[in-house]
Amino acid sequence: MIETLDVVWRHRIFYLFVLPFAVLTILFGLWPILLSIQVSFTASATALRPNPTYVGFANYLVVLSDPAFLASLTKTFLYTALSVVANLAFALGVAVLLDSALLTRGNLFFRLAIFLPVVTPDVAGYVVWRWLFDRSFGAINAMLEMIGAPAFAGLTSARTAMASLLIAELWHHAGFYMIIFLANLSMRDKALEEAAHVDGATAWQRWRYVILPQLKPALIINTVYALIQFLKTFTVVVVMTKGGPNEATNFVSYYAYQLFDQGRYGEATAMATILFAIVILISLTFYRIADREVAA
């Protein structure tokens, strides 16, 4: 104990350096999380009072036996899976295209065009997409009409609403995954491809057996990022669908937020804790896989 204090005192300057960072992390990271977990064990009506009534796991039971929550969770998983695959496939495809020697001139323009949405405020971007998709006044349907294609239901039908959000989110996020693939591609060992070429490997074989294995780091990083990103999908729902139509896009984070807004704090924070546990579990699993891959 005294030894520890002594160590701390001798390195006090480092504690001073880290102090503001620690204060902010505790105040705005740890505290709200603990508070949220605490509230999840209280009765909503008393949650914000000085002496809340604790109800054990009652809120969790209510949430887990609520079919709407389970449906919301299923939708969240489905949307996450589709989004991760779509974003990574698109980003990888574009990265390979932009990395190829076919596109030497104008390469920067393409990169900028695809990356610009990443730094565009998401609210502004989604507000535009919301109107592009509009059934009556939207540009997308106007274009489809022009070429005589059937109308796209967009945000108005349960079947297409999720796809519409996916497209808007892909527009916003894919550039980020693209640059990570591009960074990885630029670091790869090109001599291996030359060797494979000399050995008579086809373009596909070179890609599949020489390039793709080298992209593993980017694939893992992007998968983890995308999983966490899309499990937490929120802003696009707020701006474009408010969970509709007919609950089709009522993902967990939006559902929890709605409950919170109605003053159902206990259930809302119980949902938050459940989602948190899922995110942590998935992230840790992937970090472990990643560690093993790196070790191997």
Binding site: F21, P32, I114
Partner: protein, 281 residues
């Protein structure tokens, strides 16, 4: 590369066509936003697609000079002030914190702090923000600029970029300084920070871009629209009394323009920085 040597003209044209189509599809929403900002709501509804406004209708900027009882300039000023100050504060605090944590990872409590930080950034952000309302209330910071700025100061990419940079500093550099009799403060301010100027610039740039887009924490911590930034004002424009279509697009342009320009000016640093910060994570 081998494919180019094949001199396959057709393949090259196809590649350009594909990349061009994708790029234009990604840029089209911006063009539509810009064109719609200058077209009357009625005209947009009558004909959603136009390459160019039929007349340049600037009247909208007078109409949105006041949104929700707050002048537009105030939202703009808030955006710059909140984003700017949170960036300065965030870069300073994160640089010092990341430096201490990477330089002395074995000090008591340091590993725990790093873990707490990593866990906090994994918490579903919008659900973290909700209890933050209670934290701000308990700290007496609800509705204050200070509360908003302090909350926005920390972020994962910023931390990872600094951590990654400090880890790569060769131990000899610091050992040499110690042999020269420099104090830890001197090592930091005379040796490390000058070396860290480029990464600091990158982190500042990225923090600015990310914080400019923030809306949810600002909405939650604010008590009145007086502390709203542009994205929050944009979201608040949909009232039950009907949406002002042209106004929303005009405000979207105002919200997007500053960061789009900043990004285009510093694109290399931003893209490389974001990739580097992510790769570490």
């Amino acid at each position: 590369m081998s494919i180019a040597r094949g001199d396959n003209r057709a393949l090259q044209i196809a590649a350009y066509a594909l990349a061009g189509t994708i790029s234009l599809a990604f840029l089209y929403p911006y063009w539509w936003m810009l064109v719609s900002a200058f077209r009357a709501t009625k005209a947009i509804m009558a004909a959603p697609i136009r390459l160019w406004p039929e007349t340049l209708d600037f009247s909208i900027f007078a109409e949105i000079a006041q949104i929700g009882g707050v002048p537009l300039w105030r939202y703009i000023a808030n955006s710059f002030a909140i984003t700017g100050l949170s960036t300065v504060l965030g870069v300073t605090i994160t640089a010092l914190g990341a430096y201490a944590l990477t330089r002395m990872p074995k000090l008591p409590g340091f590993a725990t702090l790093r873990t707490v930080f990593l866990v906090a950034i994994m918490y579903p952000y919008m659900l973290l923000v909700i209890p933050v309302y209670l934290v701000m209330y308990k700290l007496g910071l609800l509705g204050s600029y200070a509360g908003i700025i302090l909350f926005l100061a920390l972020g994962p990419i910023q931390f990872f970029l600094f951590e990654q940079f400090f880890r790569k500093i060769p131990a000899e550099v610091i050992e040499a300084a110690i042999i020269d009799g420099a104090s830890e403060a001197q090592i930091l301010f005379r040796v490390i920070l000058p070396m860290a100027a480029p990464v600091t610039a990158t982190v500042a740039l990225i923090t600015f871009l990310l914080n400019w887009a923030q809306w949810f924490p600002i909405m939650v911590i604010s008590k009145t629209p007086d502390t709203y930034t542009l994205p929050v004002a944009l979201l608040a424009m949909n009232t039950e009394l009907g949406a002002n279509f042209q106004g929303i697009m005009a405000l979207a342009v105002i919200t997007t323009l500053p960061v789009a320009v900043l990004f285009l000016l510093a694109q290399k640093r931003v893209m490389e920085g974001m990739a580097a910060g992510a790769v570490k994570g």
